[in-house]
Symmetry: C2
Subunit: 100 residues, 2 copies
């Protein structure tokens, strides 16, 4: 069942765009791990926040991806840029008005 | 610029699946209005909550879609099913690790 994970990561003031660069860096292994969509964004309403919206082939695929060497390296690289404030939610996709 | 809107809608207890059915009902006019993705979901951790994750060609396309007759009709239909508790966030997409 397609699994969605959406979240916010707050950066240390002034370092949001460095965090965006890490999260949006081309990573073909995510696709191999079952990532169907991974959008990274920002909002002028919240200048230190990075937003992500992800779709995965399953919750297990998402969970397993966190163990990938490249993902662990990115987490280590991002750590000093994070304020510690995070939010978001995850869910199981059950339908879409765009398809039958 | 691609615009993302993600959110939660809490249903009156016991009526979540009716709300899912309204939100996931096939709606080709959303695509015509610039909707690129519209995933509807649920989570066992929050049994009265419906989740949505949407991508649009622009924030303006999303805003304009709220004025469509079919969307207004769905909002009216959904209203009695809503508890009034809602959450979520929106953002401008700036990148993805899945594409260059």
């Amino acid at each position: 069942m397609t699994f969605a994970n959406v979240g916010t990561l707050d950066a240390v003031p002034g370092r949001r765009d460095e965090l965006v660069a890490i999260l949006a860096r081309r990573s073909p292994e995510l696709e191999q791990a079952g990532c169907l969509l991974y959008e990274v964004g920002v909002s002028e309403d919240s200048p230190d926040t990075v937003f992500v919206a992800e779709l995965w082939t399953s919750a297990a695929a998402h969970e397993a991806s966190l163990g990938l060497e490249s993902v662990q390296a990115s987490i280590q690289e991002a750590r000093p840029l994070l304020s510690g404030r995070m939010g978001g939610f995850s869910f199981d996709v059950v339908g879409s008005p765009l398809r039958d």
